[in-house]
């Protein structure tokens, strides 16, 4: 009998990995979905248990050596508060979107491909979880490829609704591969210098270098990683792959990606910049905080402006996501406790808010057949619960008090004050006002428009969709009203990152 408790970190990856492969053999009908729900549900339960174990143990981290190989030879999985938190987000959102997917996927994807869809879907989640849990730099790359390749496939599966999904997927494939190869190169150069792939070991070896700040190999590695990671997390102006990919992907996939994929990219940046290179090198010796802050600020402003111009609600939310990544990046590049905490807490807050909103749009696509803003006109009369969720999520994007978005903004602005970056505070708040404009485009259409065409005959979304939507939106409200758990976890995780622990 396997000891679950002792092997918890490994199981979080192994169970969905095997479960995903096995999903291929589940045949047709409702079985693929049921299997996927079971696997993602079990994984979510494991991440919950992981978090509880970590909190109870009181230790700064839990280390697990795969196959009992010593960590400088083999692969180490290491869970601290930061990645336990991110694991919870990825597995939780993964589970909730899987529950939601039944009707939506049934509508958007041909019946004979459901088993393949769910297999790829579970593997994508596996990849994201693996990146988050591993303490080995090369393992990050391997799992990054697993998640990337599966995500390309998932996006392309939107082709039965709109052929443009294929080009969107290809575009992401090209840019994503460039990003991944940059990351691989960066890891390779780091290994040349340090002779190890274990993150903690890498950090220690780097710190031992006398000429760290001038070592060309290290500098090249840093540059490759910075660009590669920025591509993966869709930091402006390397976000070009994202809007189309989110727009044409199947609805459930858009929600999963928006909530988790770019967030895991940010997590990788945490590990590399804070963990491996260390705060001193990344943010003081190198001017990366200036570059990142500038890109993040430009991203917040320009992608919010782009969002305002969109006619498709999904594209609008996609551009909004690019802007929200700007907040997250701006937060951690301040490299002070409030800023980093704001960044971490916003990963969670944005995941539940935007995830919920994409799910709501999926429900609208299911009932109305499209997500053009014209399709939303007057929809609140027909689908009050779905539109209500979309509106509440929108308030969260603006950062209204009593929504989770407000909590993030509080930390970010306070962090900006603490770092004497008044300009950033202005950008963050200006971003909120731009968000007000694009969210209000949706709200006015839904609540004050006159329904026409299919909108006029639409019915409220089925319960199987409404419940997941409202779980996510409800969480975004709950953690806006009482942010003690998220706030404290993020603050502690931020302290860990700034302390330099990998």
């Amino acid at each position: 009998m396997i000891d679950i408790q002792a092997n918890l970190p490994a199981l979080i990856v192994v169970i969905p990995l095997l479960g995903g492969v096995m999903a291929t053999f589940t045949g047709r009908g409702v079985l693929p979905w049921a299997w996927a729900s079971l696997v993602t549900g079990a994984t979510f339960a494991l991440t919950l248990r992981m978090m509880a174990t970590l909190l109870q143990s009181g230790a700064p981290y839990i280390s697990y050596e795969l196959g009992n190989w010593p960590r400088w030879w083999g692969i180490e999985y290491r869970v601290d508060l930061l990645n336990a938190f991110i694991l919870l987000v990825v597995a939780g959102v993964g589970f909730i979107t899987t529950l939601y997917a039944r009707e939506s996927v049934g509508d958007e994807i041909p019946k004979d491909r459901h088993n393949v869809f769910y297999a790829v879907w579970i593997l994508a989640i596996t990849g994201l979880l693996g990146i988050t849990i591993t303490g080995d730099a090369f393992n990050v790359y391997v799992l990054l490829e697993i998640s990337s390749l599966t995500v390309y496939a998932l996006i392309a599966m939107g082709k039965d609704r709109d052929r443009r999904a294929l080009t969107a997927s290809l575009r992401y494939l090209i840019l994503g591969s460039v990003g991944a190869s940059f990351i691989l190169l960066g890891i390779g150069y780091l290994m040349m210098v340090t002779g190890t792939l274990n993150m903690e070991d890498m950090h220690n070896q780097l710190m031992r270098l006398a000429n760290l700040d001038t070592n060309r190999t290290v500098l090249v590695a840093f540059a490759f990683l910075l660009v590669g990671l920025s591509l993966k997390m869709a930091l402006y102006p390397l976000h070009m792959w994202l809007p189309k990919a989110y727009t044409y992907a199947p609805s459930a996939v858009s929600a999963l990606l928006a909530a988790t994929a770019t967030k895991v990219g940010v997590y990788m940046a945490f590990r590399f910049l804070f963990g491996i290179f260390g705060v001193g090198f990344s943010f003081y010796a190198m001017p990366s905080h200036l570059i990142l802050l500038a890109m993040a600020s430009l991203g917040i402003v320009f992608s919010s402006l782009a969002a305002i111009r969109q006619h498709n609600a999904k594209t609008l939310l996609a551009y909004s996501s690019v802007g929200q990544i700007g907040y997250i990046v701006a937060g951690f590049s301040l490299a002070n406790p409030d800023g980093v905490a704001g960044s971490i807490v916003h990963i969670f807050n944005h995941a539940v808010t935007k995830g919920g909103m994409f799910l709501a749009l999926g429900a609208i696509a299911y009932r109305v057949g499209g997500t053009e803003i014209a399709d939303l006109r007057g929809l609140a009369r027909r689908m009050p619960l779905t539109c209500g969720a979309l509106a509440l999520g929108g308030l969260g994007l603006i950062g209204f008090p009593l929504t989770a978005g407000f909590v993030s903004k509080w930390y970010l602005v306070k962090g900006a004050f603490g770092a004497d970056m008044w300009g950033l505070a202005v950008v963050v708040l200006f971003g909120s006002l731009l968000a007000l404009v694009y969210v209000w485009k949706l709200i006015e259409a839904m609540f004050f428009g006159e329904p026409t065409g299919r909108t006029a005959e639409a019915k409220e979304a089925p319960l199987s969709m409404l419940i997941p939507i409202w779980i996510l939106v409800g969480l975004s409200i709950y953690f806006g009203v009482d942010a003690t758990f998220t706030g404290e976890t993020a603050t502690r995780a931020a302290a860990g990152l700034l302390g330099g622990a990998p």
Partner: protein, 531 residues
């Protein structure tokens, strides 16, 4: 029982009322009965709190007690509720006028056959719940949270008619209110927390320590003061006043209670509260900051009055009058003297009674005669004597003529200006009194002493000029009344007339019995640290 949990009850009553209104939405009679009962219950609760705020040992007992923590929203920053005399005045006015306004709403909404009435009553109750939250907020963070909830919960009320024009105006409304509060007020609050480590209200202010150890310089304090004053967009300080005329597109009960009392008073209440309990007289005076507010508020008073002179739409004229009157409160507080604070507190009450009467009258005219413009009001006082009589009383209070409440606040304001030596304020008050008379008295004169117009079939006149009447709705109303728009109409429905008579009477009663308002105003004064 110390009574510290009563403010929570005051918030819970309208919030529960909103839920019940939603539950009973299908039965209009029950729904409206629930509204009225909720408002009466709320006044009962608020009256329970009143003795605590008036007690002689208020500052040493109720104020010193631990605040009621609603919940800890961010680590270290809880939402708290606390009884405080200025908030008491605000809560008392909002809750007592809500009863009359509910009666009035029943008459108005039915008389005009408005749609979405359940949503209307629900949002209204929610707005009142957030008003209670603002009035009893224990720290500026709580105040901010409920301030924003108030903006959002009143948005559907402003956009109520759903016409493109209503939606556009509501966009201006929300855009300015949220824009100023998120863009200026929120960073100001975060900066306050950053510099002082607290967001609690304290008589005398919170910045003294930060100023003393020079972590906060005087110019920085000035910037913060500016951010607070313009961040509170609901106080309608020019040029942030545009949302208020825009909000007039709402049904009249909304304009009456929310945009003459609850929402705008949330603004000036926050201004006064921030000046007294966040900045404090000493800090502002010693840092030499904030004097500009006197001049900006003075300019707002005069400019808004001048604009009001040229408005033909009655509600729009009232809106600009409100902009001007709000700055009376701001200017009084910005004198930074005890008499000024008292004037501000009393004017919050005095203006509320007067202005709600005027709005009730405007809505009454719209319901009975479907008229929205002043030029159409010739001789209407003969058909609607109660309405126009009340209107006259309200006008007198705006001008500040005894025996109306407006006189008392003006008296204190002038005394405060005299005491502090600001001749500018005295001049502004005198000029504005003339202007007030100039834009209110002609309406009264026209209504009572001009002959009604000849019977012309110009049913579409108000249609063309009435910016605030929904054209469709109006056409519908005109059809009901046939073509005798200018002909046979009497007084408005009984609930409307009853409500506006009560508020007009209240304006006069407040002149003869100002004890409660004065008592609470003095209580604020007693709490201030000795100079």
């Amino acid at each position: 029982m110390t009574g510290t949990e009563l403010p929570l009850l005051a918030m819970a009553v309208p919030a529960i009322g909103a839920i019940l209104i939603g539950v009973f939405g299908r039965w209009p009679n029950v729904r409206e009965l629930v509204t009225v009962l909720t408002s009466v219950t709320l006044l009962g609760v608020v009256l329970q709190i009143l003795p605590l705020a008036l007690a002689d040992d208020f500052w040493s007992t109720t104020w010193s007690a631990e605040p009621l923590v609603l919940l800890e929203m961010l680590p270290g920053i809880p939402l708290t509720l606390k009884i405080e005399p200025l908030g008491m005045i605000y809560a008392l006015i909002a809750s007592s006028l809500w009863i009359l306004n509910s009666l009035y709403s029943v008459g108005y909404m039915r008389g005009n056959k408005e749609k979405h009435q359940t949503r209307f009553y629900m949002c209204f109750a929610l707005a009142i719940a957030s008003v209670m939250g603002i009035a009893f907020s224990g720290n500026v963070f709580t105040l901010f949270v409920f301030y924003e909830v108030l903006s959002v919960s009143t948005y559907p009320l402003v956009a109520h008619k759903g016409t493109p024009e209503a939606v556009r105006s509501a966009r201006v409304y929300l855009g300015i209110l949220v824009g100023t509060s998120v863009g200026l007020l929120l960073p100001a609050i975060i900066a306050t927390y950053f510099f002082t480590g607290t967001v609690d209200f304290q008589p005398g202010g919170v910045f003294q320590a930060a100023l003393a150890d020079e972590s906060l310089t005087a110019p920085a304090l000035g910037v913060l003061f500016f951010m607070y004053m313009y961040g509170i967009g609901k106080a309608a300080l020019m040029p942030m006043h545009r949302w208020l005329p825009a909000a007039m597109v709402a049904p009249t009960p909304v304009s009456a209670l929310l945009h003459a009392v609850a929402v705008v008073k949330a603004g000036v209440f926050s201004v006064v509260k921030v000046i007294i309990y966040i900045f404090g007289t000493t800090s502002l005076v010693s840092a030499g900051q904030g004097e500009w507010l006197i001049y900006v508020a003075g300019a707002t008073i005069l400019i808004a009055s001048c604009i009001a002179l040229f408005q033909d739409n009655l509600k729009r004229r009232l809106a600009y009058s409100t902009v001007s009157q709000l700055s009376y409160i701001t200017i009084a507080a910005s004198l930074l003297s005890p008499l000024g604070y008292m004037a501000a507190a009393i004017h919050i009450a005095a203006h509320a009674f007067g202005k709600i009467t005027l709005f009730f009258a405007a809505g009454s005219i719209y319901t009975a005669a479907h008229k929205t413009n002043i030029s159409q009001l010739d001789g209407i006082g003969r058909k609607m004597p109660w309405t126009m009589g009340a209107f006259a009383v309200g006008s007198l209070s705006m001008i500040g003529v005894p025996p109306t409440a407006g006189f008392i606040s003006k008296w204190y304001l002038l005394s405060g200006a005299w005491e502090t030596g600001y001749t500018f304020v005295i001049v502004v008050v005198l000029l504005s009194t003339l202007l007030n008379a100039g834009y209110f008295l002609p309406i009264v004169w026209r209504a009572f002493f001009r002959a009604p117009p000849e019977e012309t079939h110009h049913a579409s006149m108000s249609h063309a000029d009435g910016n605030f009447g929904d054209p469709h709705d109006h056409g519908h109303g005109a059809k009901d009344h046939g073509h005798d728009d200018h002909g046979d109409h009497g007084e408005a429905p009984l609930p409307i007339v009853f409500a506006l008579t009560c508020t007009a009477a209240g304006t006069i009663v407040l002149f003869f019995f100002p004890d409660i308002a004065l008592g609470l105003a003095e209580q604020i004064y007693r709490g201030l640290p000795l100079p």
